[in-house]
Structure formats: C-alpha cells, structure tokens
C-alpha cells in the first residue's frame, strides 16, 4: 500500500537482519513467558479443580466449611478458616503498613526531598532484600515474646503474623508511593504554594487527592505480596485450622497450610488435591489484585 513511501528493501541488508534478530529474540522471550504462564495456570487449575470434579467435594463445602480434618474419619475439607486467616492478616498488614509507607514516601518526596531520600530510600530497599525466613525468625524471637508479655497467652497468632507482614510489605508500599508522589507535575505544587497554602495544606488538599489512585496501587500491590507470603507467617501464626475468635489466637493462612502439608501428602490424594484447590484460590485472588491495580491505573491516567 505505502510501497511508494517506504522502500520495501533497505539500502543495506545488514540493518534488515539486525531488525530481524531483535524481533526473533523478543518473540522467543514473549512466547516463553506466555507458555510458562499458561502452563502454570493450567496446572494449578487442573489439579485444584479435580478436588471438586474427581473427588466429589462440593465447592460450597470447600469454601464455606469450617472444619478442616483431611486425615479424620470422615474427612472434612473446609477451607474457610484459612481463607479468613489470609484475608484478616492481609488487611491488617495493609492497614498498618499503608500509613507508615505514606508518611515515609511524603518524607522522602515532599518534606526532605534531598537528604531524606538519600538516607531513607536505601534503608527501605534494604528491607526488601531480607529473606522471609529471617523475618519469620525475628517474629518468633522478638514479636511473639513481646505480645506474650503484653497480652498474655501464647503470643502466637494473627497479631504476630500481621505485624511481621506489615514490615515485609513496607518497602513495596513505600517505593511505589514515593514514585507516584515524585511523578506529580511540579506545577501543581507550585500553584498551591502560590495561592498561599502551607506545606501541610498542599500535601493533604492537593498532593494526596491527585495521587490517590497511584497511592492505592501501592497498597494493593503490598496486599498482593502479603497474601502470597508463606514462610514468615507460617512461623508465627500458629497454624491451627480453626476460624480464630481473637487476634491473639492461633490461626492459619492459605499459604501456611499449603507449605506445611504439601510435602507430607502424596500426589493425587484428596488431601493433596485440596491443597491445590487452595493454591487455585490464591491464584484467583492474585488475578483480582492485578485487575484492581489495572483499574486504579486507568483512573490515574484520566
């Protein structure tokens, strides 16, 4: 069609091949990613769904049943305790981490942009490099005894879990929020100051409302991380398969029960399949988080 505008063959053959090498290389990577992604989704879904279709456990029993006793006679496969445990710990962790992260991000971008960022940024990035088993051990050695001495009881439970998680997701939340704040056009800030607003007024009347969707993206990504975290939580949460009645009572999350039992069960057994169903629930939840982030980004652009 536009052969006249663009000559089909470039003057030098070399450029032609360079172009193709690049294309082929990227295509390989893209195809590889797509194949890996679809096979993971397929594998988890086929394993997870066989609990319902092959082993004949009803979806409502799985999602709504309060009793988890796969080794009992008769066996119960109610995953509600783990689902509630996952949601409560994730929400509480986000509730603790978001204000802290927001303050840190504001400090770095608005209050002391130069020096503050130089010191705080590496410190926060360092937090994300610590392996989760270390967080778990710190939780077990510091947070659990602390909670035990303050509130009595065992100290193990959702409270300990969400405190550990809050620290773990802090880097994610803070760095995404800081990026969002520093991406704000300078003009907005300057016009607010020009109107005579103080720094605090500028922050809470102009900066936070305009960047809110991006800030929420940080919270949602932090929650996605908290939802999928297994090892650290497993060490401090207690892992009893019951719907907890207080924050200081032992509870389980989806991830903690999967890591505890997956290796001990044989592939293809109902118990094992039920664990895969929980993995499927986690996968679906991750999709939900991703969709949420997409929606927030769309709102951010307008």
């Amino acid at each position: 069609m536009n052969n006249k505008l663009k000559p089909r063959r470039p003057l030098k053959e070399k450029h032609y091949w360079e172009e193709w090498t690049g294309r082929i290389y990227t295509s390989i990577c893209v195809v590889f990613l797509i194949v890996v992604m679809f096979s993971i989704v397929y594998f988890v879904a086929s394993k997870g769904l066989s609990t319902f279709f092959q082993n004949g456990i009803s979806i409502s029993e799985f999602l709504g049943g309060k009793t988890w006793n796969p080794t009992g006679e008769p066996a119960f496969y109610g995953a509600l305790p783990f689902i509630t445990g996952s949601f409560i710990t994730t929400l509480l962790a986000a509730l603790i981490a978001s204000p802290l992260g927001l303050c840190a991000a504001l400090f770095m971008t608005e209050i002391v942009p130069g020096k503050g960022k130089k010191i705080l940024q590496p410190a926060i990035e360092l937090l994300s490099g610590i392996p989760s088993v270390v967080y778990g051990f710190i939780g077990l050695s510091v947070i659990v005894p602390l909670l035990r001495s303050i509130f009595g009881g065992t100290g193990v439970g959702i409270a300990a879990g969400c405190l550990v998680l809050a620290v773990m997701i802090l880097p994610t939340v803070t760095s995404i929020m800081a990026d969002a704040l520093s991406a704000l056009p300078k003009g907005l800030r300057e016009s607010s100051y020009a109107l005579g607003a103080t720094r605090w007024q500028t922050i809470y009347r102009v900066i936070i409302p305009t960047t809110l969707p991006a800030l929420l993206t940080g919270v949602v990504l932090g929650m996605a991380r908290a939802f999928g975290e297994a090892l650290a939580v497993q060490m401090v949460i207690g892992n009893a398969p019951h719907v907890p009645t207080s924050l200081l009572e032992s509870a389980s999350t989806l991830t903690s029960v999967i890591t505890l039992s997956m290796g001990n069960t044989t592939m293809g057994s109902v118990h094992n399949n039920a664990l895969w169903s929980m993995a499927l629930v986690l996968l679906v939840m991750t999709f939900v988080f991703v969709i949420l982030v997409r929606l927030l980004e769309r709102r951010n652009r307008v």
């Binding site: 193709w20 294309r23 082929i24 295509s27 390989i28 195809v31 590889f32 194949v35 988890w68 006793n69 796969p70 080794t71 009992g72 006679e73 077990l140 050695s141 659990v144 005894p145 035990r148 065992t154 100290g155 193990v156 497993q234 060490m235 207690g238 892992n239 009893a240 398969p241 019951h242 009645t245 009572e249 032992s250 389980s252 029960v257 890591t259 505890l260 039992s261 997956m262 290796g263 001990n264 069960t265 044989t266 592939m267 293809g268 057994s269 118990h271 094992n272």
Partner: protein, 308 residues
C-alpha cells in the same frame, strides 16, 4: 501477514523444542534407572536420587557424601533432596526418584494399594520421640490416658494432671506430618483432632523454641532435639532413652524407611548396604541422633504389631 511471520515461526519452533525437551526427560530417567542394573559386576556407576523425609535427610546426605568418597563407588552419584515423606513416596512410585525416604510405612500414606506392593522397604534407622513440656508445667511423668486427655483438649490445665495451675498450650505438628502420625499411633493410640488454640509448627527447631519459651506448653520432639531447656516427660514412667527403645519398653518410635520401586539396582543396593554397614550405623546414625537398626531387640510391622 509477512510481518507476523517470524512470530509464528518462533512459536512453532518453541513448541517443538518444548515437546522435544519433554520426551528427552522421560528417556533420561528411564535410562538412568536401567543403567545401574545392566553393569553390575565390573565397576558400579549410576545416579541415585533420594527424595523425601526431612527427618531422614541429614543421615542420607552425610552417608551419601561418605559413600561417594569410597574408591569403589566413585562413579556413583548420590543426590539427596528433602520435600517430605509424601513427596518421597510419590516420586519413587512414579519412577522420578530412585529412593523415596519416608518416616512412615508406605501403607499409611499411599492410597493406591497396587503402588504400595511395587515398593520395597529398606529400614535404615529408628527415630524415637518424647513428650516435652515447658519447665514451669511442674509435671515429670504422664500416663497414656493423661496424654490423650491433654491432646484431645479434655484437660486444659496442668493442675488436673498433677502439675502447676497453668493453662496447657499444645504445640503440635500439622495433621499430615509423619512425626505426628507416629506420636499419635504409639503414644496416644488414636488420631486426635486439632483443637482450637493449639499451635502447629513443622520444624523441630521451632517446636523446641516455642515449647521452651511458652508458659504451659507441651509438645513432642525426636530424641536428638532434647536438652536442658525443656522438661522431658516420662511416658508411663518409662524414660525416653536409647536403651529403653532398643529393649522395647519405650514404645514411641518409628522406622526411617528408604523405599525403592522393585528390587534396587546394583548401585542403589550398594548404597543401601553401605548405610546399613557398621561404618555408618555405629558412627553417623548415633551421631545424628537416630538409633541404629542393629541395636533393636524388637521389630514392628506396618500394622504396629511388635515382635521380640
């Protein structure tokens, strides 16, 4: 159309490569498995992959290192992986692993009886467990009935079993764990349901830490983990010692199994014999806190029947 050609081409090649990889892998494992049995007499060679129980992992790993250092077996490679008893049994019966390490009899884990029949059991060591409590519980000896009452949630305070006035906190293993299965089968005599408020940890280190630090806690640990930070409880008046286990007076113990699918090939057999040799049994096994097979004066079958 021309623009999209490289993409389509690459997709096709990629799928082909993947398919090729898949079939190659299958051939690889089968090849390795049949290799060992083929060349038996002259010089042993082959790859042994032992997968499974984390409780047995340290022993197999250490024995594997020593085995490969022996001149005679230098062409045999022993690889050891954890992953849990269930994984070990699954992989050995699917032919992915040469040896499946397990804390429990295959009969107790595998649902498919035909698969159990294919497996050959090699018992390489014994692990005994003792009930332990926090030091403030004020109890030194518990009967079977008292333990059952505690772990079923019927007794909630130490004073009801002759101890201090302190609430009991149960530090358990997850219901799928082999250690828990052993403890329930031989100490309690029945499966227990998880009770609300109990704690479950999978690693012995964490169980030990929690029992030692939490007031009123009770749990159970393998003998190699016991020390002064815990109160080791007697079971029906019998102390958990190696001698008592060997003599058959202390019942809470289990075999460590290394399963092979069918009879082992020459290299694997050499390795299993090596683990059962005095070299390993008298040194590494006792060093790592297991009880050697040779010392056992009693035997037990999968159903739990004890023979002198």
């Amino acid at each position: 159309m021309f623009k999209k050609l490289p993409f389509i081409l690459m997709t096709l090649t990629f799928v082909l490569v993947l398919a090729a990889c898949g079939s190659k892998n299958d051939a690889g494992t089968e090849g390795a498995a049949s290799n060992g049995s083929g060349e038996a007499a002259a010089e042993l060679s082959g790859n042994i992959l032992a997968v499974g129980s984390t409780a047995l992992l340290p022993l197999v790993e250490q024995a594997g290192q020593k085995f490969m250092a022996v001149d005679e077996y230098k062409n045999v490679t022993v690889q050891v992986q954890g992953g849990g008893s269930g994984t070990g049994l699954t992989q050995v019966s699917d032919g992915q692993a040469t040896i499946g390490n397990s804390d429990v009899f295959a009969e107790e884990k595998l649902e498919d009886e035909a698969k159990v029949k294919e497996l050959v059991d090699h018992q390489v060591a014994v692990v005994a467990m003792a009930p332990v409590s926090n030091k403030d519980a004020g109890v030194e000896d518990l009967t079977k009935q008292q333990l059952v009452d505690i772990f079923s949630g019927k007794v909630k305070n130490w004073k009801d079993v002759g101890g201090a006035d302190k609430a009991i906190v149960i530090v358990n293993r997850p219901s799928s764990s082999g250690t828990r299965a052993t403890f329930e089968k031989y100490a309690l005599g029945a499966k227990m349901d998880d009770i609300q408020g109990s704690i479950q940890e999978d690693s012995s280190g964490n169980v030990k830490k929690l029992v030692a630090e939490t007031p009123g806690a009770i749990g159970y640990l393998a003998l190699s983990y016991l020390d002064d930070s815990l109160q080791v409880l007697k079971y029906e008046g019998v102390e958990a010692t190696v001698e008592n286990v060997e003599a058959g007076t202390y019942p809470v113990w289990a075999y460590e199994h290394m399963y092979t699918k069918g009879e082992p090939d020459a290299a694997t057999k050499a390795f299993l014999d090596y683990i059962l040799s005095d070299e390993i049994q008298q040194n590494d096994v006792t060093e790592l806190g297991y009880i050697p097979m040779s010392g056992m004066k009693v035997k037990r079958d999968a159903a739990g029947n004890v023979v002198q």
